[in-house]
Symmetry: C2
Subunit: 355 residues, 2 copies
DNA sequence: CTGAAAGCGCTTACAG
DNA sequence: CTGAAAGCGCTTACAG
């Protein structure tokens, strides 16, 4: 492999001039520049990042840790959080930064080792991406470089980018109310899920703003935290909602897979969507939401936008334009994607009056 | 940040001795070693990969390019090929190699740039992972380092690891025949898909080994190559199979999502799985296959195993234990995962005789 | 078992 | 607009 010295000799200039051409830096005579470029091409010169990093003390590297790649054989996941990684990557590449991605393989105990490897590479910042919205205890010993949490947040004032689940629950419920629904059933995520609590908060706020009383009978846990049987509680919970004296006119599911199973159960029970009952999902996992019949109304989990914002923040943290405390916990909004699984409810007023 | 010199001074030894401790290399007195280790800990020493790579001319890096992270907003995918990446990563980390992952963002034109960045980092080998089994034209200018293709293959004798689709189609069909099925319908992947041709080859081999005549009426294209409407042809094609004078007793779908939609259509038409007809998928995408009711028989697409094998091969190519031409195109077998969507067919013999 | 010297391929800091 | 010298933090090659 040729070096800057080989190129310099071939072009009849000094190594420093080659360096200048390489970095588009300082004033270089146009002819000199062309000569250097030609020599580079001729020799197949590829600069060495190691040498550059070593001397300049800037690696141009950012480390990202995720559990996303960590589908183990025992725990399949949908990997939607890869979208976060993609968002980060896009922004960073625009800033000529290289993203190093490492996964925990589902084992958080590996994090310190991964961080260590990143530090050996002298990454300029660290980004931790969680598989679902959660609080993490993890104290990252990052040796003074900026750390950004995405889809999770920590106790300290580590900056964090999270989805705005409260807003999602609010917007969905508000939209349903605007479409005439007043008896709005909910099959939630597992009881312990943070997103469950936040979305229910949004649900209640929308109800209250519309002057609709909150009825706990309309809310049931629809999913289990055990990844081996995520939808175990769904059939009973759905049956429970349908058996209510005043049956809901729409049911919001914890995610699109849960909605998919609700579809299957309803089909079995000869209940038509959306004629007999409307259904909504969450996540806007389009492989499911768009392909279901009827297509599923769902709330966009704004992973790509979160990733992009994370990329921006990382760059600014490195440049010092932004201080960690300027960020805090930042919630990113997602939109409701209205599809045919939700039908306006004409009779709602009568039903609601009967309440 | 402290250097090897700081550690050396703190431990009262020479830098070279610190280096030896760092690399578990050469003979070092136990007491000296402890002293050095203590000094490292005290100073929070983290070795610099740049310096090491530069001097030793070994980066310990392997570059992997995938389109996997490339869900664009317009093209959702299931990302199962992330399993390949995970398999590679696991093996490499056991060999103290670091994987650099870059994605094309769905745009193959970015590949040369990504390769260039990898070369600047002096990766010791390159791994290209495709989203689905395909032949690629791509000539990678990798500057002499080993290149391994995974889930794809090239014209030249670049080593490649692919799934054994022919075997998958064969094993599924053979298993169905063993379970008494003789009229075996197929809703294939898009016409242009390589996996379609390979799996149909396996299907026909199994039929022929069992002395069952191939009936082209039983095979229909069930999916479209347009990612915006992948299952567009499915309803008509499924209807066609069901309308046959001798209706198939089982239908094999191109993938698990297609099977999911077949379930929905059959439910609509009041046809019960597996009582009235058996269904099989492909990919063993467990989030779907295990959660469908009834759980779906599917053929494991051995992505994790392919990734592991790819990791092994990469290591051996780097070490020189293996020459590129020793590999060629290597097909990795997947198993059939039998679940309740397939029911043994008792009446098959009568039906078959009637044929 | 340990160390002194040189050099990997760049960029920095300075000079002209 | 261009260059000579030094040094980033390690490992190599050699010596003792």
């Amino acid at each position: 492999l040729s070096t800057i010295y080989d190129v310099a000799r071939a072009a009849g200039v000094s190594p420093k001039t080659v360096s200048r051409v390489l970095n588009d830096e300082g004033p270089v005579n146009d002819q000199t520049r062309s000569a250097v470029r030609a020599a580079m091409r001729r020799l197949g010169y590829v600069p060495s990042r190691s040498a550059r990093s070593l001397r300049s003390q800037r690696s141009g590297l950012i480390g990202l840790i995720t559990g996303a790649i960590s589908i183990t054989e025992d725990q399949p996941t949908g990997l939607p959080d890869m979208l976060i990684v993609q968002g980060v990557q896009r922004v960073l590449s625009e800033h000529r930064m290289t993203l190093m991605v490492a996964d925990t393989g589902g084992d958080m105990a590996r994090v310190p080792d991964l961080v260590r490897t990143f530090l050996e590479h002298r990454v300029e910042a660290l980004c931790i991406v969680a598989e679902y919205h959660q609080e993490i205890a993890l104290e990252i010993a990052a040796g003074g470089i900026p750390v950004l949490l995405v889809n999770c947040f920590g106790g300290a004032n580590t900056p964090a980018i999270v989805p705005d689940d409260a807003l999602g629950g609010y917007l969905l419920t508000k939209g349903l109310i605007e479409r005439g629904h007043r008896r709005i059933g909910v099959l939630t995520l597992p009881r312990a899920a943070l997103a469950r609590r936040l979305r229910l908060g949004g649900y209640r706020r929308a109800l209250s703003e519309a002057g609709i009383a909150y009825d706990p009978a309309l809310v049931a846990v629809g999913m289990d935290a055990d990844p081996a049987r995520p939808i175990a509680p769904l059939p009973m919970a759905l049956q429970g909602l349908l058996a209510l004296a005043e049956r809901p006119t729409v049911i919001c599911c914890g995610n699109d897979f849960a909605a998919m199973h609700a579809y299957a159960l309803l089909a079995e029970w000869r209940i038509k969507v959306p004629k007999d009952i409307s259904i909504a999902g969450y996540d806007d996992y389009r492989l499911v939401a768009e392909l279901l019949r009827p297509p599923l109304t769902s709330v966009d989990l704004p992973y790509l936008a979160m990733g992009r914002r994370a990329g921006d923040v990382l760059i600014q943290l490195i440049e010092g334009t932004l201080k960690p405390e300027d960020i805090g916990k930042e919630a990113i909004a997602g939109r409701v994607i209205w599809r045919e699984s939700v039908k306006p409810n004409r009779t709602s007023r009568a039903v609601a009056t009967g309440n």
